[in-house]
Symmetry: C2
Subunit: 290 residues, 2 copies
């Protein structure tokens, strides 16, 4: 399963992050800096990511070390203009990302998550003082002498699940989806629960159905802003749905033939399937191919 946003060829070179001398040595004329328009990628006419040099960055920007390739440091810039601005994913962004290779999409996704985190985490959650970038952007440190809090980029685990009952599949519609789009149910893992518990709780909360036999299928980093999608399969004990309309506009069961028609993109399919960038697409494909 080749899942979007995973598979970057950059070596994260974690040992360099805490080595100030090594990091500085990489910040030379050979260093590459990812060009961003807000948080969106700048796409070349050839459909690749655009990279500049340190000469293209602003003096008061922060730099995040993304990793190494060809012996060159690769960085992303957190410019003052980005700070506090949260640009949600939009159709223009999706069109831009569609032109990127699998590898470059993953590099962009990691950069986007990190830059977004720096733009929205300027202060120490413990004491309220200003923080500064540390360890090549893989940490922010509190500037208060009495606090010295250390903060790390956040990754939020989210369960996303194929729920099956006697060969039929449960799909639902979140209010923010494009017209006729349906997808697998999903929800954040909370403190104090396993992946399997989170799957069961979310399905019960959203549609009132109990599930068992939860099994892991695949995972995906999702950079909006920084989720770890944990794809699972579960068996429903019943089919009657009690939909939580705060979470879902609609939800229903679909036959294998109906799901196949949607994945083929048939015009008269009952719904429009999730796009290939989404792990839901791969989960459904996995389910059809079993």
């Amino acid at each position: 399963m080749q899942i979007a946003f995973a598979g970057s060829h950059l070596d994260r070179a974690d040992h360099i992050r805490a080595d100030a001398a090594a990091l500085t040595a990489l910040m030379d004329w050979r260093a590459r800096v990812l060009l961003l328009d807000g948080l969106d990628p700048v796409i070349t006419p050839e459909g690749t990511l655009s990279w500049g040099t340190l000469a293209d960055t602003q003096a008061d920007s922060e730099l995040v070390f993304l990793g190494l390739a060809d012996g060159r440091g690769h960085f992303a810039e957190v410019s003052p203009a980005m700070i506090g601005s949260v640009a949600p994913a939009n159709p223009r962004l999706w069109a831009a990302m569609a032109s990127l290779s699998h590898d470059e999409l993953a590099t962009y996704g990691a950069a986007r998550s990190l830059v977004d985190w720096h733009a929205r985490h300027r202060f120490c959650a413990r004491c309220g003082s200003a923080t500064v970038l540390a360890k090549g952007g893989w940490q922010r440190s509190c500037t208060s002498d009495t606090c010295t809090g250390e903060h790390f980029p956040r990754v939020d685990p989210v369960t996303i699940m194929l729920v099956e009952h006697q060969g039929n599949l449960l799909l639902g519609r979140q209010p923010r989806f494009p017209p006729r789009r349906l997808s697998t149910l999903a929800g954040f893992v909370e403190p104090g629960e396993s992946i399997e518990e989170a799957v069961a709780r979310e399905v019960f909360e959203e549609v009132g159905v109990r599930v068992h036999s939860v099994r892991y299928v695949a995972s995906q980093p999702w950079p909006f802003p920084s989720n770890l999608m944990v794809g699972c399969h579960a068996i429903a004990e019943s089919t009657e749905l009690t939909i939580d309309h705060n979470e879902l506009e609609e939800a229903d069961w679909f036959t294998r033939a109906e799901v196949e028609a949607a994945m083929r993109g048939d015009e008269d399919a009952r719904f429009i399937a999730p796009p290939p960038q989404a792990i839901a697409h791969h989960l459904i494909k996995w389910w059809l191919e079993r």
Copy 2:
């Protein structure tokens, strides 16, 4: 696999969190409040968690809604004394937890993660203003009119992996472990990588070994402070180890017989196995039983 810190019988009743009237109605004389000593549980002579009532709480405490059982609201208190104090896990805590049932250990773990998060997240990371508890403790909201940032309890996904080569198992020792204790390697999932990529990166960083065929085995919530342990199995391509001594004191390969001896607790075993509360224990057991 009955894994510690999962399996609480409390119904998280997520629909109540955002319903101020329902939440207030649960804050009556029947409400139960988990008694804590710092972040540690207060254990009864019978070896169970101690619960008080709202009358036992301080007027200036914050209350976290843990969930429902027997129609009663269950809460945890974030008292002013806890704020900013981070009490690490300690031998006294492990002894206390060992007396708890599976169910109560999970209830305590979730409460500990949430209380700890509130104690260390008093300010808005976006603007530095003070935050207040919201949605029954499942959110903190910024008090600045111009920011209105919303913050959610953090769950950090961590990969933890059985690494195998021709029937031998790779185990390592972190500096903080008790004497002779070894365990499976582990490390945080970073922004922009899948679970499978995180496993491969961490093993390479820590011992210089490439792995393939990563598969998921089991998961566990780990309340120190709030990790989601994602247990995996992977196959090593080679056996020569280049140990990163910033991460590990030692690491080595162990035969099946050596691992069995350690799990039995043999006095002359090559190492001491991880305790049953740790997912590493269950992963090793799973590996031996395959």
